[in-house]
Symmetry: C2
Subunit: 314 residues, 2 copies
């Protein structure tokens, strides 16, 4: 996959008013504590509460009319499910969503509120893939995966595009990495706009498949990810891995304790609600000051969908 | 007290860069749920985490040099304490803050972080006033009360000024009322900019002294306020009462259950952290749809200083 900056700009213009141009926040506290300039791109304020709204909508809008008619299908227990349901609603086509029985009620509610049609399955990746397969054959709907898909990656790239166009003096960009859709898209935007920008991925130590893959240059799937950052438990795909290998400078990691500590720090100091995934970059910044001190860094905050009854520090 | 709009504009320009021009957020969910246009002025993102930073700084900056030299003093267990400590720090004078021994550690920490000098006293208003008196005599510092003070009110008025200047088509303005500094300032800004704007105060049922005072036209102090909205447990002062009587259309009230419900609704839907006081206006909007439906309403969100270990719905 080898897009030009115009492809990402076109993606942004296709998303149009259906996607928020989210605000960028800066905090005197963070700048002085981490001795640099840190600009936080607030995708927690995005439609559906996460950046996933971008990729899903871009993928749905790019489908040929003939293919789109039968709808779209995916499996997800997380933010991609709601994002795809919303995207399909905007195009006026059905969205079939496979979710594990034990998915949180609030996530099911979100999918339904956007008109998504849920098929429940037993937990476990195999069961999910089987249910997806069956549904796909029955309905003829197009499978839109959560990250390993060109038009999803181009959609996710628009968050960094907005940030870097608003702040062309950015020297470093850091984004969390789970399946790699956001990180690969962000890296493409950065490299195409300014090859001098350093790009880092941020990953929980306890789900460090991207780091291992990056270092060994072999795609290694995640094994028993055990992290509070529920958005980052997935493995890279071939497409996202290829882009990350080519355009990312390094993958940094963060401990669970630090992820929770810095999540709370963002809540208390910035007064915004962010998911645990959002604080992984900040935890990496705190651990590797040499990479960020005195520099202008863009940080992508991925989403704000948190179960307020179960906060990780309580 | 009878200021002109120029006095409030001068206050804003005196505050300058030391006070954030806080963002105004709008949410498709709230607009459709409450059937109107609702613009939320986010003082939870203000310096020190609340609108109190405005009034305290304005009062401190307006002191004559001779008086200011000996510093400022106040008693507060809440947001005014940190705001005054910060304001004094900006002017380079000492701030003496009387706080009850049982004030939350995080509030004491905030005051200290801005260089405030804390004197602890036994809990109870009498003990606080006695300690304040002693300190005032010992140091010669000027007493800056939290709300019943002209330059504090003019400072608080600047939040509504910013909101109404940004959205001149506003038809209704609603703000919480505790001591009345914010509500009286907001009402002044509204009336002076456009006498057609309806102005409502929003108060917890269980601390409804402002409503009672407003209806009886006699200043009634609050009795045993028992509300989760910790910023709204105080009574009106003579100065704020006079302005409210003259310029406010009505005081609406909200139940404790509704305050907590709508606080959570703001957290979940807007992904921002707000204090319980902030959801009192929204609870009143939900209870009195006839006053807001189809209208353009400005809502002032007062602050975001919440103890994240003790959320009211957990």
């Amino acid at each position: 996959m080898n897009p030009a900056i115009e492809d990402i700009r076109e993606a942004r213009s296709l998303l149009g008013e259906n996607i928020h141009r989210t605000p960028v926040l800066e905090s005197a506290y963070f700048n002085s504590t981490y001795r640099g300039t840190f600009r936080f791109k607030c995708e927690n304020f995005q439609k559906t509460g996460s950046f996933k709204a971008r990729g899903a909508l871009h993928a749905v809008l790019k489908l040929e009319e003939r293919k789109a008619q039968k709808g779209v299908v995916t499996h997800s227990s997380g933010n991609h499910a709601a994002a795809l349901a919303r995207a399909a609603g905007i195009r006026g086509i059905p969205a079939y969503i496979v979710m594990p029985e034990d998915a949180p009620e609030i996530k099911k509610k979100a999918v339904r509120s956007y008109g998504g049609i849920i098929t429940l399955c037993k937990p476990g990746l195999e069961n999910r893939e089987l249910a997806l397969q069956t549904l796909h054959q029955k309905t003829g709907a197009v499978f839109i995966p959560p990250y390993n898909y060109e038009d999803v990656i181009l959609g996710q790239a628009t968050a960094a595009l907005e940030l870097l166009e608003a702040f062309p003096d950015t020297e470093v960009l850091i984004a969390p990495v789970g399946g790699g859709g956001l990180l690969s898209g962000s890296a493409l935007s950065a490299r195409l706009l300014n090859p001098e920008i350093s790009v880092y991925g941020a990953e929980p130590e306890q789900a460090a498949d991207a780091r291992e893959s990056f270092q060994t240059k072999e795609l290694v799937p995640v094994k028993n990810p055990n992290t509070v950052a529920d958005g980052l438990r997935t493995s890279l795909g071939p497409l996202t891995f290829e882009i990350i290998l080519k355009h990312v400078d390094d993958i940094l990691t963060a401990s669970e304790t630090d992820i929770i500590h810095h999540m709370r720090e963002i809540w208390e100091r910035m007064k915004i609600i962010v998911e645990p995934s959002c604080s992984v970059p900040l935890a990496c910044i705190a651990r590797h000051p040499e990479l960020f001190e005195g520099k202008k860094t863009g940080v992508i905050l991925t989403g704000g969908n948190v179960d307020l009854d179960r906060l990780p520090w309580v």
